[in-house]
Amino acid sequence: MKIGVLALQGAFREHEEVLGRLGIRTVEVRKPDDLHGCDGLVLPGGETTTQRKLAKTYGLWDPLARLGGRGMPILATCAGLILLATRIDGEAGSSLGLLDIDIRRNAYGRQVFSFETSLSVGRTAETAGRADPFRAIFIRAPRIVRTGPAVSVLASHAGEPVAVEQGNILGLTFHPELTPDPRFHTHFLEIVRRAAASREEGKPGRDSMETAVGNHP
């Protein structure tokens, strides 16, 4: 198994370290070629405006949209999650639109309002065999203000979803890569294994993943 971590800017190394501790091989994705042979992708936290701009400039935007559209498992945290949403701050068209949520950026306020809290993550906790509260760090975090019918909520804070799942996409408004608790990464790897197993059964295959990466100048 190989997981690509988008390494344009942000907390990519932290995700690599968590996955490394779980025995997973990672590759840093900076250009379209880096996507070849990846079984899953991580879109890390960072600055949304910066990441979006760089992804477009470096020819990664369209390959990411195609791969996501074909069921590539994606773990997206904070800025990465914003890039996947259907609408950002009420506007469509500035995101990849792979996850049916509407999101509001920096919705808790600027950095002085960044916070830590304990989340109840029941179902995810069970699968990884750990006791509940998950200590979550929210940094200039976005808020999910709408979830579509296909989206399931894994955890909430103050009555609002902060961890969501749709198909092979796991989206978090907080930063599991900054804490030692690997439950969400473990859960993501289960999604990757499930996707790989269903590909084996002849559903959308690796070949179509490869064509989705495509050849870019």
């Binding site: 800017q9 990519f12 600055e47 920096n106 002085v112 960044s114 940094i139 200039r140």
Partner: protein, 295 residues
């Protein structure tokens, strides 16, 4: 349900989100917009860029809050601002303005010749400059959540940033090689708290993000600092004191992302116009150097 704000993890976490990126000095909302459009991951709002402070002299202070607010309104990326060394009221004002990071900076005229700001007393995180590992650890012991090299701000000469980055990295390697019973003397030599020295000796790295700053003027300068181990780059006068700021800003960002790809650095460095002229650090008298401020 409880939200615990201003925690150590939240403070240093924001710096982790900035990694691999370029933070640019700006003095107007228009410049901030150019920086954001070029792909900067944050901007540093200030009244005068270091090159002008150097040229014009006078007391350099925190920026006008009006300028800071207008810059905050102009961009969505984090906005940092500088406070004078030891000037904790400037820091309080910047916190009240909700800037995202405070740079307790030697570029401004120091307000206290002995004490740096007690940075634990704030919810907003701080970045501080250093010339070596001891200075970095002293700032950490006061609560800094991000470190940068001092370099020689406003010079356009990368030599000091290189010296400071190599010094820090070299001392990290040295510390890691020591026996536990040698760490007491090492702490004395570094003039840093024993507990921090022990922790760093064990991990072999700083517990916070370390950017390069002071003298970055070209895409190759930025990539040089990244290859030397910087987590990201601050560019001060280098952008807006050059002939074509928008193109240079974009090129510096691209060279920082793809710092191990010389062909790409070559490509983005073409036709950028004239870089800031600058001053050789060797020609700047000791008394006029900014990097010797702070201790």
């Amino acid at each position: 349900m409880d939200e615990e704000r201003g925690t150590w993890e939240a403070k240093k976490g924001l710096a982790q989100m900035l990694k691999g990126g370029v933070i640019m000095d700006v003095t107007t909302p228009e410049q901030a917009k150019i920086a954001e459009d070029a792909g900067a991951c944050a901007v540093m709002a200030l009244e005068r860029v270091p090159a002008d402070i150097r040229a014009e002299g006078g007391v350099a202070r925190m920026a006008d809050p009006e300028v800071i607010v207008r810059i905050q309104e102009a961009v969505t990326i984090p906005v940092m601002a500088k406070a004078r060394i030891g000037h904790f009221v400037e820091a309080q004002v910047l916190e009240a303005l909700e800037v995202d990071y405070i740079d307790e900076s030697e570029v401004l005229t120091p307000a206290d010749e002995k004490n740096h700001i007690d940075k634990f007393a704030f919810k907003v995180p701080f970045v501080c400059g250093c010339r070596d590992l001891g200075e970095a650890l002293r700032r950490l012991s006061e609560g800094a959540a991000m470190i940068r090299t001092k370099g020689e701000a406003g010079s356009g000469d990368i030599v000091e940033a290189v010296r400071h980055m190599r010094k820090v990295q070299g001392q990290l390697r040295w510390l890691k090689s020591l026996r536990p019973d040698e760490l007491y003397a090492a702490a004395k030599e570094l003039q840093a708290p024993g507990q921090l020295v022990t922790e760093v000796a064990r991990t072999g790295s700083l517990p916070v993000v370390n950017f390069a700053a002071g003298g970055v003027a070209t895409p190759a300068d930025a990539a040089l600092m990244m290859q030397l181990g910087a987590d990201g780059v601050f560019v001060g006068s280098g952008i807006f004191k050059s002939e074509n700021p928008a193109a240079r800003a974009k090129a510096v960002v691209e060279a920082t992302t793809h710092y191990e790809d010389p062909a790409r650095i070559a490509q983005v460095s073409r036709g950028l116009g004239v870089a800031m002229r600058g001053n050789q650090v060797a020609d700047i008298p000791e008394t006029e150097r900014l990097s010797v401020r702070g201790w």
